[in-house]
Subunit: 308 residues, 2 copies
C-alpha cells in the first residue's frame, strides 16, 4: 500500500510513527511554515519532530527535541549574552548546523532532508511541503508576530486575530509532493493543527487541488478531542477564528478534502453531524501515548481507508 | 602605559595574556585572515584563541578551544553524515553560533568581538585587524588551499610555494586599529607567525605605515627558537619561502618596523647580526608555559621598551 501523510509537529509525528511501522511505502509531507531562523540557524521544527520521532530519538516528554539531550552550547550562548529564548539541545543543534550549512551552500531543503533522514536510517520519505521560504505570521492584538515568537516566545497565549502565510503565493511544492498525492492509495491527514500545520501544506499552490483530485482514499484524524487540543493552540485558534471548537468544527474545514474523519470516542455524539457534511466517520481512541497506541491508531486509519 | 599588541593564535595569545596582567590599557589587534566558514559557521580562530586565553577558558593542552569542552554536537554531526574535519567543542560552538548569527544580521566583527569579550569579562580591547573579509590562501605543490584546509585539514604538511591574502587590497582597518598605533606608548609584536599571523595584519592598507610611523617603542618576540617554531608552520614557511630559519631571519622581516627584538637565550649568538640590522636585542627565555612565564616575558618586553 502506498500512503502519503500530511503532518505538522508532535501529534502528527506520533501517527506518522505508527504508520511507519505498518506501511512500506510511506511519504510524509511536512509543514515548513513554522520554519524560522533562530540564532542565525535555519530551524525546521516540524521536519525535525517527525524525523526524530521516526528515528526513535524524540524526547518522549516534550515530543520535540532529542531524548536525553544536553544544553552545553545553549548555556554557553547565554553566558555570551545571547537571549536564549529558543531551546536547542546539543544533539539537536547538530541538525540545525548541518542543515544551515547545506542550505547556505545552495542545497534545497528537500535534498538536505533526504540526506538527514538517510543518515538516521529512516525508511519513510520525508518531504518538506516546499523548498521555498513560507512563514506563518500570527496577527494578534499585540501586533503581527513571527510564528515562533508567538508559539515559543509567548507560549501561544495571544488571541489570534488572523494568520498570514508570507511567501505562499510564490512557493512551489517540493519535488515529489504533487506526485505523492497522485500515486497514493491512501492520504492521511494527521491530527495536526488545521491552521498552522495542515493549512500551510494545503495552501502551497497546487496541493489543495492535488488532494481534492486524488483517487486515493483520504482519512483524517481530528486533533480536537472533547473540545480541546491535545497539544498546542488548535482549540484556541478555532475559537478565535470563529469556528466551533470540536471535531465537527474540524470536519467543516476539511469538506471536499477528506473521505473519512476519525474522531475520539469522547466525541461520538458528533458523528451524525459530521456524516451530514458528507464525510464517513470512524469513532475510536485517538489519543496516542507510546508506540503501541500509535500503531493501533495507524492501523485503524488504514482500515478506515480500505474499508470505505 | 598604553600598549598595543599584534597577535595571531596560541603563541601570541600567551604573551598577550602576560601583558593583560600588567597593563591597564591594552589593545590587541588580531589576525583574521585565518577566518573561515566551516559547517556554515563563521570561525575566527585567532580572535577566539586570544579571547579564551584572556578569559582563562583556553584548553591548556591544545592552546585553542575551551578547556574541558565536550563534543556532543560534533559527534552528532558526524552521525548525520557531516565530514567533521574541523573540531568544535560544545562550549566553543556557542561562540561561533553567536558570532555567525550577529554577523549575518549585519553587525560588524569588531562590534561582535567587543560584545563577546565584554560578556566574558575581558578587560583588554580586542580588535580584529579588519571588519572585511580577508582570506589567506596557501599555494602548495598540491594547488591553492584555503588556510584552514592547509593548516587543519592537511596539518600544514604541504610545502608552501607562496601566500595570497585574498581581499586584502580592499580591506579597511577595523575601527580603532590605526589609532591603536598612534596612541600607544609601546607596540608589541607577539611571537606569532610572521607570514600568516603578523603578516596579514601588517598588510591591511594603512597598518604597516601606522607601525612604521608610530612614536611608540616597538618590541617584538621571535617565534623562532633554536631554528624551530614552538608551534605551527613558521619555521617551515621561512625555509620554503627562502628565508633563514632563525631569529635573524625573523629580524630581517621586521627591519623598519621594530626597535627591539626579544630572542631566546638559545639564540644568543645571533644578537650581533640582529643588532647590525639596526634593532636592539634582548636575550631572555622566550618559551612560555603557564601564567608565570607569560607574565615574566611580558614584563621583560615592557622593560625592553621602556629601557630603550
Amino acid at each position: 500500500m502506498t500512503v502519503t501523510a500530511l503532518a505538522g509537529g508532535v501529534g502528527g509525528a506520533k501517527l506518522v510513527h505508527g504508520l511507519d511501522g505498518l506501511v512500506r511505502d510511506l511519504t510524509v509531507v511536512v509543514n515548513t511554515a513554522d520554519d524560522a531562523e533562530v540564532y542565525g540557524l535555519s530551524i525546521s521544527p516540524d521536519l525535525d519532530t517527525v524525523m526524530y520521532t521516526l528515528a526513535g530519538l524524540a524526547n518522549p516528554v516534550t515530543g520535540w527535541g532529542v531524548a536525553g539531550d544536553t544544553r552545553v552550547t545553549l548555556d554557553a550562548m547565554a553566558g555570551l549574552g545571547e537571549r536564549t529564548w529558543f531551546t536547542l539541545g546539543d544533539r539537536d543543534l547538530a541538525t540545525h548546523v548541518v542543515r544551515t550549512g547545506r542550505l547556505r551552500a545552495g542545497t534545497p531543503l528537500s535534498r538536505v532532508t533526504a540526506d538527514l533522514t538517510a543518515a538516521l536510517g529512516i525508511r519513510a520519505r520525508l518531504l518538506p511541503m516546499t523548498d521555498d521560504r513560507v512563514a506563518t505570521m500570527v496577527d494578534t492584538p499585540a501586533g503581527r508576530l513571527d510564528f515562533q515568537e508567538y508559539f515559543v516566545g509567548r507560549r501561544h497565549q495571544d488571541p489570534v486575530v488572523g494568520l498570514v502565510l508570507d511567501g505562499i503565493e510564490t512557493a512551489a511544492p517540493a519535488p515529489g509532493v504533487l506526485a505523492a498525492f497522485a500515486d497514493a492509495d491512501v492520504v492521511v491527514l494527521a491530527p495536526s493543527n488545521p491552521f498552522v500545520s495542515i493549512g500551510p501544506i494545503l495552501a502551497v499552490p497546487g496541493v489543495r487541488d492535488a488532494l481534492a483530485g486524488t483517487s486515493a482514499r483520504r482519512v483524517g484524524v481530528s486533533p480536537i478531542v472533547g473540545g480541546q487540543a491535545l497539544k498546542g493552540p488548535a482549540a484556541q485558534m478555532l475559537a478565535d477564528l470563529g469556528h466551533e471548537v470540536s471535531a465537527l468544527g474540524v470536519a467543516r474545514l476539511y469538506v471536499g478534502l477528506l473521505d473519512v474523519l476519525c474522531i475520539d470516542e469522547e466525541d461520538r455524539a458528533l458523528a451524525p453531524a459530521i456524516r451530514d457534511l458528507g464525510l464517513d466517520v470512524v469513532v475510536t481512541g485517538t489519543v496516542m501515548g507510546g508506540p503501541d497506541d500509535r500503531r493501533r491508531l495507524a492501523r485503524e486509519v488504514l482500515d478506515a481507508a480500505v474499508g470505505g
